[in-house]
């Protein structure tokens, strides 16, 4: 079901009016279903996010498959062939198999989601993604009753991804979500930015976006999605378990062992940019805090 959540930034001026009204009505429905808290709506009204520029978003990236420098992905990612592209969906699903990207794009409803992106390295951006809810894709494959987690895997092509020739981490990059996190209306698969196809350095042709978690959870250039009943291994947790937990929810009160997470710098502000306070769950507390009720977020970092 598309349009289950609405951006905090209302681009009323950019969206045809009818569609805009339509979305708002759908939102009313979502509130009725209890999917979005009323407080979330109040926040949506009074706060507008200003998206970063196209250049900020596409030239300052962490995508170690193309190199560890922030500019390396923009320089090297053109080597990646993204067409044709197939995503394997397997594990505890009714219809396991190869899903071609073309087939996925035909089935899904693409919408815009303007989200904050908070990197674990204490910088942030606001990105106008285009994509669809992960829930819709998972429902396409039919999630089976016993499934509890979703595992994701990035493409690994040594000849197209120069960074993977070095053992920076244990390739391929893998990530995972709890099923309820994966099915949450905020969780999307992005296929575009600013209405254009997503550039390779941002994770073409399809990448995860989980806006309340540190950026590294939002795995790029996905080739496999596996439904499982076991907590799947995740790349940074395997590399440095005491620094990167499975959950990795944005949390200003729990510092990374090597740096503070209390503040962040918005990319693109120049040499004299200030820092801003990091928000609990990256500003999506109203929407997602209930997922972690009763959990010790310091333990489960």
């Amino acid at each position: 079901m598309a349009y289950r959540w609405k951006n905090t930034l209302t681009r009323a001026d950019a969206t045809p009016y009818e569609e805009y009204v339509n979305r708002r009505q759908l939102m009313g429905g979502a509130i009725g279903l209890g999917l979005v808290g009323a407080a979330g709506m109040a926040r949506a009204e009074d706060e507008a996010l200003v998206p970063n520029s196209w250049d900020d978003i596409t030239q300052y990236n962490n995508f170690y498959e193309f190199g560890t420098g922030k500019g390396d992905p923009a320089k090297n990612a053109h080597m990646l062939t993204t067409e044709p592209w197939t995503v394997v969906i397997d594990g505890m699903v009714d219809a396991p198999g190869d899903y071609s990207m073309a087939q996925i794009m035909e089935t899904m409803t693409i919408e815009e989601r303007i989200y904050r992106l908070r990197c674990v390295e204490a910088w942030s951006m606001v990105v106008p993604w285009n994509g669809f809810e992960l829930a819709d894709l998972l429902n396409l494959a039919g999630v089976q009753g016993g499934a509890k987690y979703v595992a994701f895997e990035t493409a690994l092509r040594k000849d197209e991804m120069p960074g993977t020739r070095y053992p920076v981490i244990d390739w391929p990059y893998v990530e995972g979500l709890r099923l309820d996190e994966a099915m949450h209306p905020l969780t999307i698969m992005a296929t575009g930015i600013y209405g254009k196809p997503i550039p390779n350095q941002n994770g073409a042709p399809m990448r995860l976006v989980v806006p309340w978690k540190y950026g590294f959870k939002s795995i790029k250039s996905i080739v496999r999605i596996t439904l499982t009943d076991q907590e799947p291994p995740t790349a940074w947790n395997k590399a440095l378990g005491h620094e990167y937990g499975f959950y990795s929810n944005v949390n200003p009160n729990v510092d990374h062992p090597r740096w503070s997470q209390a503040t962040e710098r918005v990319v693109g502000g120049g040499l004299f940019a200030g820092r801003q306070d990091t928000l609990m769950f990256n500003g999506y507390e109203d929407e997602v805090a209930s997922l972690y009720e009763g959990m010790d977020l310091r333990e489960n970092f």
């Binding site: 560890t68 922030k70 390295e121 070095y166 090597r258 503070s260 209390a262 710098r265 120049g270 820092r275």
Partner: protein
């Protein structure tokens, strides 16, 4: 032949030329940072560029006496300039970090005590202060043998700086390990001489 050539060029080049050449990156980096030449996030880029130049200068400084001893290349007259330039870059690195990056005394202090890689960098910086202060002819004369002992601090400074770099890198990255290896290699060259001195 080659070595004689290098030595005669070195004799002719004034030390102030080294200062000038090595200070050029400062305005260039600042200009790039203000005009987009350092990418979308210039503060971190500037911090890293300055740190890297500082580390390179420390490595160059450690090369100078082995060059003379093992290759007969005499560039010792530049050693003080290299050391003071390294210190300058560390100070700039630290200033960019504190003023442009962290922007709060309270958080600067919190990071220095809480973050091991910052603590290590800071330890290296603090050890460099007496070295910089005594890098003049008067101190060399006044301190005599103690001066040489004091300046053995460059060894732990270089090791700490490389460890600082390794510690702040995410995942397994080659570059900081190469620096540490080179530094340890340059220090290993000195071990026989040091042992001999201790033995006597």
């Amino acid at each position: 032949m080659l070595i004689d050539g290098i030595n005669s060029v070195a004799r002719k080049v004034p030390t102030w030329a080294v200062y000038i050449v090595y200070l050029i990156p400062v305005p260039v980096l600042l200009y790039q940072g203000m005009t987009g030449g350092l990418g979308r996030e210039p503060i971190n880029a500037l911090e890293r560029e300055l740190g890297e130049i500082a580390l390179q200068l420390l490595v160059i400084g450690l090369c100078i006496s082995p060059l003379r001893k093992f290759a007969g290349v005499n560039v010792i007259k530049f050693r003080r300039a290299i050391g003071l330039l390294a210190f300058t870059y560390v100070v700039l690195h630290l200033l960019v970090w504190a003023v442009l990056d962290i922007q709060s005394l309270e958080r600067v202090w919190a990071d220095i005590i809480k973050r091991p890689y910052i603590t290590i960098g800071m330890a290296a910086f603090v050890m460099m202060i007496p070295l910089a202060v005594t890098s003049n002819n008067r101190s060399v004369r006044a301190l005599g043998a103690a001066w040489r002992k004091l300046h053995l601090l460059t060894y732990p400074v270089a090791i700490l700086a490389a460890v600082h770099f390794i510690w702040l890198s995410k995942g397994f990255q080659l570059e900081p390990l190469v620096y540490l290896t080179v530094i340890l290699g340059l220090l290993a060259l000195r071990v026989p001489a040091l042992l001999r001195k201790v033995a006597v």
